[in-house]
């Protein structure tokens, strides 16, 4: 039997004062998880939410959500928070205890996520990165479609469709925004985007 699993990660608080505190990702994550759990909407079987957790715990949960799955299982990983690149251009996701000065040692590298996805038995994977420079996730990988172009997401998972879809908020050089800039497109600014 096919199952749907999701891991929703958001960070708003950071021990390293160099990171600006965020406000929207926590609420966005909770609301997104609500949509995923809703039996009349996404109807996911298992949705785990991590908010303001450290790098070690996040890595473990990412590894677990992709491990020991069946080929038909649908896996979704969502991240909202600070993202930044190393000097060589590799994307890192910032956790609660990530330190900018030693980013490579304390951040979550995109390569780690790619490794977990590549080694999962599941052939139905969705990754959503809502952070700055998130388009750098494709750095060094072979994208099925150029960044910024339509990838036919609507049909990718219809019925028993297989594949991997990666949605990024930005290209490798752009800022992703929380709060006012994204609220501007909403009719009701008090509601999250989901």
């Amino acid at each position: 039997m096919t199952s749907k699993f999701a891991l929703v990660i958001a960070n708003t608080e950071y021990q390293d004062a160099s990171f600006a505190k965020l406000t929207a990702p926590g609420k966005d994550a909770e609301e997104f998880a609500h949509v995923l759990r809703d039996s009349e909407l996404a109807a996911f079987d298992d949705v785990q939410v991590l908010i303001n957790e450290g790098e070690g715990k996040i890595r473990r949960f990412i590894a677990r959500v992709f491990a020991e799955r069946k080929r038909d299982d649908l896996l979704l990983l969502y991240f909202s928070g600070h993202g930044m690149r190393s000097e060589q251009g590799q994307l890192f996701l910032a956790a609660n205890d990530t330190e900018i000065s030693i980013l490579e040692a304390t951040g979550i590298p995109a390569e780690f996520v790619t490794y977990a996805m590549n080694n999962s038995h599941s052939q139905r994977q969705v990754l959503i990165l809502d952070c700055c420079n998130s388009g750098a996730f494709a750095y060094g990988s072979k994208a099925a479609s150029p960044v910024g172009k339509s990838m036919g997401i609507a049909t990718a998972f219809e019925g028993s469709g297989f594949g991997r879809v990666v949605l990024t908020a930005t290209d490798a050089t752009q800022y992703a925004w929380e709060g006012i800039k994204s609220l501007a497109i909403r009719k009701n600014p008090s509601l999250p985007i989901f």
Binding site: A20, G83, M84, Q88, I100, C132
Partner: protein, 129 residues
């Protein structure tokens, strides 16, 4: 005997028909290659302060690298940069810097930079005489 003072300058690369994202990756690759040469330092040039509400802290000026190199190594670095500029169609490099001991400010292309180096070498030879 005093150690020679490093020359400090910024180089800005551009390439026709490349997106901002592609140019950024080219810059980072060039930075890595410059560091493999015997330069004193090479780093990305910071951009403006990260705006409030941005989900990231990175801010760099796309295409720009700040470099410090000893005068003796400058010809080798320039030779490398010229080679780099010839590897792709439409690649250009502009230089901007201040050579403290010489009190010379400059801003120009690769050719102009080479002319400047030639002038500096002549000046150094005259001073030795």
């Amino acid at each position: 005997m005093d150690a020679p003072e490093a020359l400090q300058f910024n180089l800005t690369i551009s390439a026709s028909h490349k997106s901002n994202e592609e140019l950024d990756y080219m810059t980072r690759q060039l930075l890595k290659e410059l560091r493999d040469l015997e330069v004193e330092s090479a780093k990305l040039v910071p951009g403006d302060t990260t705006p409030a509400g941005a989900k990231g802290m990175e801010s760099v000026t796309v295409g720009a690298i700040a470099i410090a190199v000893l005068p003796t190594m400058l010809p080798k670095v320039l030779e490398f940069l010229q080679s780099w500029s010839l590897q792709g169609k439409g690649r250009t490099i502009r230089f901007k810097g201040k050579i403290a001991s010489q009190q010379i400010e400059f801003e120009g292309s690769f050719d102009e930079m080479q002319k400047l180096v030639g002038l500096l070498e002549k000046k150094q030879k005259k001073q030795k005489k």
